[in-house]
Amino acid sequence: MTELSKLGIAEARDAMRKGDLSSVELTQACLGAIEDAKVLNAFVHNTPDIAMAQAEAADARLKGGDAPDMCGIPLGIKDLFCTKGVASQAGSAILGGFKPEYESTITQQLWDAGSVMLGKLNMDEFAMGSSNETSTYGDVINPWRRGNDDASLTPGGSSGGSASAVAADLCLAATGTDTGGSIRQPAAFVGITGLKPTYGRCSRWGVVAFASSLDQAGPMTKSVRDAAIMLEAMAGHDPKDSTSAELAVPNFEAALTGDIKGKKIGIPKEYRMEGMPQEIEDLWAEGTTMLKDAGAEIVDISLPHTKYALPAYYVVAPAEASSNLARYDGVRFGHRAALSQGDGITEMYEKTRAEGFGPEVKRRVMIGTYVLSAGFYDAYYNRARKVRTLIKKDFEDVFAKGVDAILTPATPSAAFGLGEMKDADPVQMYLNDVFTVTVNLAGLPGIAVPAGLDKQGLPLGLQLIGRPWEEGDLLNTAYALEQAAGFVEKPSRWW
């Protein structure tokens, strides 16, 4: 039975439409797989009753004959999405016990399309982290291992639960969110596809905010085709998010022709980082050859401000986070600290936030507070926003020269061991986002596609960056890369 959970969205859709498979069977298989994989710590709030009710409704709709593509597809939902009546904690103790009275726009659209919610997925606290080690639910474990070594590896972060769940076939696909690489880095670490759409493509309403000018939700799936199908259901204008774009949502799947003849693919020289492992360099070169062999024109490009993306990000994101997270004050939702005799409202705020936030969140809130404080606002925050303008211009300049997409590595390494970065200084962990963070700063769509294994047997991914609003074209280039790379490896089951 659990074999069914290995299906992707497209295969399951086709089988259900033909009547060869029911959503109830598929959902039961996923629920079983989740039960058997508790050790991965990917699902943290299970919703089997909701899932079965939705699956039955989906089957009835499928019988009607005009069910949408996502109808009956069992999904995992990152804990950052507010789901009505179901715990939504953003991986934080400060939202302990919080059950939203409303549903995020994206999840509502998925349920309207007939999808099935299996439960909520673990993540780094408030999406701040690159290894899923900052969650109040504990670490997520990557289903991949280094050969026969049984050391536990990180699935990456912050969408680590989503990555682990999709890679281990606990669900057909999952939602993720990406502020600096939080969809693409974990997707690369577990050998799946992860798409961050153009900023404004998907509504942020009901998604717990980290850095509002950078946050964007997207699909994490077993194939590029699945990403196209799921993005279509997630995307669209939402009057409740003033930054969501009033643009028609195209049929992304229809864009997947695999034909990229004549497309111009840029290879940015600044992404050749010092100390980059040879295997990453080799994979990047192989990916370049694959696209060339598929008929694309390869051009060397320069994105001169790349080096400054990470420091700019680590000003802008914490600044926005310190403002967004001010709402966690122990008054309206979540945790409130027990107070001592004589404590006033300031002590309530300070104790509640000290108890409720983990160390990384505290650090970022305080950094954000500092860079926004009087006397430093210009030196840090305004300067970072100016550098951000320059980073975006770098991309505009190469797109103006006719470049259709940019190929880069997705991550500077394969998945590392849980705890291995424990004694590193926080900046070392931030370097995980070195190839992905530019895309958020420029608001562009980016996709991580699994492209090979390293010599330890761990997956490595490549990233394609596209023009704004041209996810269809980007997905098609990713589809061509996926076909050429032919990555079919799965983690061997040990759990």
Binding site: T243, P311, V315, I345, T346, M348, E350, V387, V427, A442
Partner: protein
């Protein structure tokens, strides 16, 4: 501007500054944890010092990553009458209000 600032330890956060930032952020930090916090914050800020190498003269700070005007709508009530839902998750709600410790002395 870019040449005027020495990048090495331009900004070092001392214990008192760490205490002040924690206070501004409304996060209580025990005294004994302040030196470690100050060290971490200094490390992160030093990483940001690289931004001083960039010539940003005449560059506008980014306000919106996509070239769109923020939408406006009629200033009318579109939602409401959800007192119960609004209070449902409050750690302490009484008689239709959020309850907090005494604010006024």
């Amino acid at each position: 501007m870019s040449g005027a600032i020495k990048t090495e330890s331009f900004m070092s956060i001392d214990k008192e500054t760490a205490r002040r930032v924690a206070k501004l952020a409304r996060i209580s930090v025990p005294d004994e944890d302040l030196p470690v916090l100050a060290g971490e914050l200094t490390g992160i800020l030093n990483f940001m010092e690289q931004l001083n190498e960039v010539d940003v003269d005449g560059v506008d700070p980014m306000t919106s990553v996509t070239p769109m005007r923020l939408k406006r709508r009629e200033d009318v009530v579109t939602d409401g009458s959800q007192q119960e839902a609004v209070l449902a998750n409050a750690p302490d709600a009484r008689e239709g209000f959020f309850a907090v410790p005494k604010v006024v002395e």
